[in-house]
């Protein structure tokens, strides 16, 4: 009897602070976001007008919003595929091959992830500079100096992929280290017996490594969706501010523009609600699609 009481006190003391903090600083504000999405409010005065689902109705007809939706989805898809592929390959190389300076590469690849977005945008401004940028200078060696420069941040069809490069550059090390960690726990004996059977390295990667770290990949996919929405906003805000002419507008940057510079706070919050539901739904879909029987080893 005494023990049971002691246990419940212990549980309460441990869990209560986290739950209280969570409710006050995350649950209630999120609830307010949902609530405000039903109002028309400029952000300063006291005239809040309840408009029901009107904000969502306008949203459904707002072509600028759809553009930001498209851009966000495109970014998520491209960045996810490229980053996943590259970080898996590099993780595979670094954990399976005998590489000189393996430690050096592991440390260096992670560095972009620790940089502030302000630093990243300064770096990519200098890389994408049309005349003196690093990228155009290197390309210029191959195609001659006289060609018209490639406008990495000016060409509306190209600029979104310029952002993809920046985002991949930023994320690759993080996921690589994460995959390396789980690859390290794949038993060496599996590879040894595969070697005896004469299986090639690429074959081993697909038949042993990938299936065994599949659960890890699934988890990271969910995080990917969440963090891509966030990072794309930060990078867009610092690098292009949604331009040229809305070509790189994403969910959250559009939300900011509406809520703070177009005096439509309620409308902005309606976008916030859509972002929340979207990331939730997408993660659920990913979770469902990638479901496999977990392999034990």
């Amino acid at each position: 009897m005494k023990k049971v009481r002691g246990k419940s006190i212990f549980i309460t003391v441990c869990v209560a602070p986290a739950v209280i903090l969570f409710i006050i600083f995350m649950l209630i504000p999120t609830f307010n976001v949902f609530k405000m999405s039903l109002y028309k409010w400029g952000g300063y005065s006291n005239n809040k007008e309840f408009v029901g689902l009107n904000n969502f109705k306008i949203l459904a007809e707002d072509s600028n919003f759809f553009r930001s939706f498209q851009n966000t989805v495109l970014l998520i898809v491209c960045v996810t595929i490229v980053t996943m592929a590259l970080s898996l390959i590099f993780a595979g190389i670094l954990s399976r091959e005998k590489i000189k300076g393996q430690n050096f590469f592991r440390i260096v690849f992670y560095i972009p992830n620790i940089l502030s977005v302000v630093v990243i945008s300064a770096i990519f401004s200098a890389i994408y500079d049309p005349n003196n940028g690093l990228l155009n200078s290197i390309i210029g060696i191959f195609r001659g100096k006289e060609e018209t420069p490639i406008l990495w941040l000016g060409d509306q069809k190209l600029v979104i992929y310029s952002l993809v490069i920046a985002m991949v550059w930023q994320a690759i090390g993080y996921y690589m280290v994460m995959y390396m960690a789980s690859m390290a726990s794949v038993p060496e004996s599996l590879y040894e017996s595969a070697n005896l059977e004469g299986a090639g390295k690429v074959y081993q990667f697909f038949t042993i490594t990938l299936p065994l770290i599949w659960t890890n990949i699934r988890t990271t996919l969910t995080f990917f969706v969440i963090s891509s929405i966030n990072i794309s906003f930060l990078i867009v805000k610092a690098l292009t501010n949604g331009g040229p002419d809305g070509a790189t507008e994403v969910f959250l940057s559009y939300m900011y523009k509406q809520a703070y510079t177009n005096s439509s706070y309620g409308y902005g919050m309606a976008i916030g609600v859509v972002v929340f539901l979207f990331s939730f739904g997408l993660s659920a879909v990913i979770n469902f699609v990638t479901k496999r029987e977990p392999l034990e080893f």
Binding site: I93, E97, Y110
Partner: protein, 287 residues
């Protein structure tokens, strides 16, 4: 044999390309921070003409980077402390005990992963506004806004879902034998948690510290909103150095500021990078 050699060459080329694409731009920021203002127009990739250390002195003296630096350290350290004190026991209990509501709490924190700080920051701010108004009506003084401690509290709270997710992922994997043995020896719940489980979780804890240090240190949206006058954190101070239109830019100070922001994270990362991999392989991210 030959294909094997080609394969090796290919691997090294790939590794070096990526490494260079990271080292060169980061090194460039350091070099740019010692350039004079007039060197920032034109080609960004020219070498600095000399070492212009005045940028750093200006950044500290004119742009108050020193003060912002201390604020940043204070907020980050406080937030980490609060986070660990709150999240560790919660993660441990949620992972290892079944009790009334434990499932709801687990789902709640998982759902919290999908809440984006960028849209809840203003509701949080408005909440503080109301709270401050209430306090003033009681004759007191505003407490919640412009308070570094409150900012740290908000940082910690918004980092809870991810941290609890990461830590409980680790705690789940520990066999129950450890606790049973501890109870046999007459250890209470608290002692079991603090003396037996926490040390085992150390690599995961270090990972959590590093991840959160990075996000707290680089965060600017919350601190910009909640610290409205006087005290600022480093990234917010930096944003103000960023050029504003219709005013002459101070590139030298800006890049010196970028280096000041970047250095602590680089140093901390290099110090704990070994533990990072270890912590990840033990932690919940293993899946």
């Amino acid at each position: 044999m030959n294909t094997n050699k080609l394969y090796k060459i290919f691997i090294y080329v790939a590794l070096f390309t990526l490494a260079i694409s990271i080292v060169v731009p980061v090194g460039w920021v350091f070099l740019a921070s010692i350039k004079e203002n007039s060197e920032f127009y034109g080609n960004p990739w020219t070498m600095p003409k000399g070492v212009y250390f005045q940028n750093f002195i200006d950044a500290f003296e004119k742009a108050q980077m020193g003060e912002y630096f201390i604020n940043s350290i204070l907020v980050t350290a406080l937030a980490l402390l609060i986070l660990l004190v709150v999240a560790l026991p919660a993660a441990y209990v949620l992972a290892r005990y079944r009790f009334f509501g434990s499932k709801v709490f687990n789902i709640m924190f998982m759902g919290g992963l999908f809440i984006n700080v960028n849209y809840i920051v203003v509701p949080i701010f408005l909440m503080f506004v109301d709270a401050d108004k209430f306090l003033r009506n009681l004759g007191g003084d505003g407490f919640f806004l412009n308070n570094l401690f409150v900012v740290a509290l908000v940082y910690a709270a918004t980092a809870l879902p991810f941290t609890i997710y990461l830590l409980s992922g680790f705690f789940v994997t520990i066999p129950h034998d450890y606790e049973e043995a501890a109870y046999m020896d007459g250890c209470g719940y608290f002692r079991t948690m603090v003396q037996i489980m926490m040390p085992m979780a150390l690599p995961s804890i270090i990972t959590v510290i590093l991840f959160n240090f990075l996000s707290f240190w680089n965060e600017y949206i919350i601190s910009m909103t909640l610290l409205t006058k006087g005290s600022k954190t480093l990234p917010v101070g930096l944003m103000q150095l960023m050029q504003a239109q219709k005013a002459a830019a101070n590139y030298g100070q800006l890049y010196a500021g970028l280096v000041i922001v970047m250095l602590p994270t680089l140093i901390l990362y290099i110090l704990v990078q070994k533990k990072l991999t270890q912590g990840m392989s033990l932690g919940g991210l293993k899946g």
